[in-house]
């Protein structure tokens, strides 16, 4: 089979992960890959767990199934059940998590997954607050996470992400672009601490 990269995004209703998946797919497409974004729907409501998927590759043909063994798992909200979020991560895969806790050396990932995987963190909640990106008390972390996803995967440049954000984001556009750039620049690999 042709090389294909699979992402699974875990977040909560209201965090914009469905929109984030389509923005990322468009940026990947602008950078020369075919890409698809789709999501799992239930009864949509703010705060409920939401899953979105992205496939990217040089071949336009791709399977139309959900993603059970992703190359990348992206967690928008660290209070989600990590076993559910981490299920099926590929050996050698990558976890990107929205967390500010590694600064104090406290990032602990509770998971049953026994694959070797890399861990990257970005303080998306902190960056979102800094750029005044919130709906009420609910920080909108999706553009920060997009920047970080582009940086760690190398599949979407910041320029392409910005073009794509401009097409799909209307509110607080400048702040969202700055937030994506800060996510792109500040995402970092951390030691994996597992209990």
């Amino acid at each position: 089979m042709e090389e294909m990269f699979e992402f699974r995004l875990h977040g909560r209703g209201g965090q914009g992960i469905v929109v984030a998946a389509s923005i990322f797919a468009e940026a990947v497409f602008l950078d020369g890959y075919y890409a698809r974004a789709f999501s799992l729907f239930g009864a949509e409501r703010r705060g409920a767990p939401v899953t979105a998927f992205i496939r990217a590759g040089k071949n336009r043909l791709m399977p139309r199934s959900r993603i059970y063994n992703p190359d990348y798992i992206v967690v928008f909200d660290s209070s989600l059940n990590m076993d559910t979020s981490m299920a099926g991560l590929k050996e050698g895969g990558t976890l990107l998590i929205n967390s500010g806790e590694e600064d104090s050396g406290d990032l602990v990932i509770n998971t049953e997954v026994d694959a070797n995987f890399k861990v990257y963190t970005v303080n998306a909640t902190g960056i979102a607050w800094k750029h005044n990106l919130a709906v009420g008390s609910f920080p909108m972390v999706n553009t920060v996470m997009l920047g970080a996803m582009g940086a760690i995967s190398g599949l979407a440049s910041l320029d392409s992400l910005v073009i794509s954000i401009k097409k799909r984001v209307t509110a607080k556009l400048d702040a969202n672009i700055s937030a994506a750039a800060e996510g792109y620049d500040s995402v970092k690999e951390v030691e994996r601490l597992v209990t």
Partner: protein, 380 residues
């Protein structure tokens, strides 16, 4: 080429806008809502060309389309699942009245209980209503097929349903080549049919008739629909000359030495196509046209390749009999000199089909006897 990233639902709406219709009447229902939203946005920006009618129900949507089509208008509607079921009486009426209508149905399981996954039983259970049905496996195919469906429907004066899976296509964003507006309008041309209702010629239409008269009409409708594969191929021939793409009533991939074929309709066909390189001596058929059932095309293909076995992916189940595509196929190959054995994998409930499940299914269906079915949920 003007590629844009859009969902299958948006692709359907863009096709309608490119074709140019006089009237859209539709009622939103998950997972079809984005079609209605996108068309309403076109109208809001003055780009729809025709009138968008907000109706109070799906029944009213199709009744409204019927009335407008009888008056000579080019019309479009879209629905899903319970919405399609609610239209049922009007679905029969429109084909009996011989008005051209294009309707998109986005597959979603019919309750109870409430469910959102893309079981194809909603549209397949409308198979005897006199509508043509074409199933699509991706957003580009949706856009192109909706455009072509207008020509097919207007040529045969029979309504046409374009069908695709909820979420797997309706909510999947992917690259779609969007045809130029002027080029599309030139290709499609104005509606060629005559209005049944003409104010200057008052008449009572579809009044009470005898069974003998009805029999003539039913035969005519049936024989007309049997012309659909030939007309569809001719439309695709011209479509390819203008847009560089074309589709068949069935689309097959037959690697050398193929003895076994997987048959699928809709989104799962693409998963089959992706998995094919992993399977030995196995080919695939994407069933695009379901009504009329492309009996001749299928039998010719199986005969030309000496196919011994067809494994059908049925994202539906007719309770008390099994998968609907498998039943139709059994009937179609009956009478062949060497009919292939038909095996059936049932993905009722619209459950997910992964490449891994498909590989497993092919091993496990090999030993099934003639009437056994393999349940998709047992393949996980």
């Amino acid at each position: 080429m003007a590629y844009e990233l859009m969902s299958g639902s948006q692709a359907a709406a863009v096709a309608v806008q490119r074709v140019g219709v006089d009237l859209v009447a539709a009622y939103p229902i998950t997972p079809q809502t984005a079609i209605v939203e996108t068309l309403a946005n076109f109208e809001g920006k003055g780009e729809l060309g025709g009138e968008f009618v907000s109706v109070e129900s799906e029944y009213a949507a199709l009744a409204c389309c019927y009335g407008a089509a009888a008056a000579g208008a080019r019309v479009f509607t879209a629905t899903a699942s319970h919405g399609l079921a609610y239209m049922h009486e009007m679905i029969h009426w429109c084909s009996g009245a011989r008005v051209p209508i294009v309707m998109v149905n986005v597959n979603r399981t019919i309750g109870a209980p409430w469910s959102l996954d893309p079981d194809q039983g909603d549209s397949l259970s409308q198979r005897d209503t006199g509508w043509m049905q074409i199933y699509c496996s991706g957003a580009q195919e949706v856009l192109d097929t909706v455009m072509q469906a207008f020509l097919l429907s207007e040529e045969l004066l029979l309504p046409c349903m374009v069908v695709f899976d909820g979420f797997y296509i309706s909510h999947t964003y992917e690259a779609v080549d969007v045809p130029d507006l002027e080029k599309t309008r030139k290709f499609i041309g104005p509606p060629p049919f005559t209005a049944q209702v003409q104010p200057e010629k008052p008449a009572n239409i579809h009044a009470l008739i005898t069974g003998d008269m009805q029999a003539d009409l039913v035969r005519n409708r049936h024989e007309t629909m049997l012309r659909a594969p030939a007309v569809f191929k001719e439309i695709n021939h011209r479509f390819a000359e203008t847009f560089g793409r074309s589709y068949g009533v069935i689309d097959s991939v037959m690697p050398p030495g193929t003895k076994k074929v997987i048959l699928a309709a809709g989104a799962t066909a693409e998963t089959v196509r992706w998995t094919l390189p992993e399977l030995e001596q196995t080919g695939m058929v994407q069933l695009r046209m379901f009504r009329p059932f492309p009996r001749e095309d299928l039998c010719n293909l199986f005969e030309a390749h000496d196919i011994e076995q067809v494994v059908v992916i049925d994202r539906n189940c007719s309770t008390g009999m099994g998968g609907i595509l498998a039943q139709e196929l059994q009937a179609a190959v009956y009478g062949m000199e060497k009919p292939p054995a038909v095996k059936d994998i049932i993905l009722a409930g619209g459950i997910d089909l992964t490449p891994e499940m498909l590989v497993k299914a092919l091993t496990e269906t090999a030993s099934l006897d003639k009437v056994e079915q393999k349940w998709g949920v047992d393949l996980r």
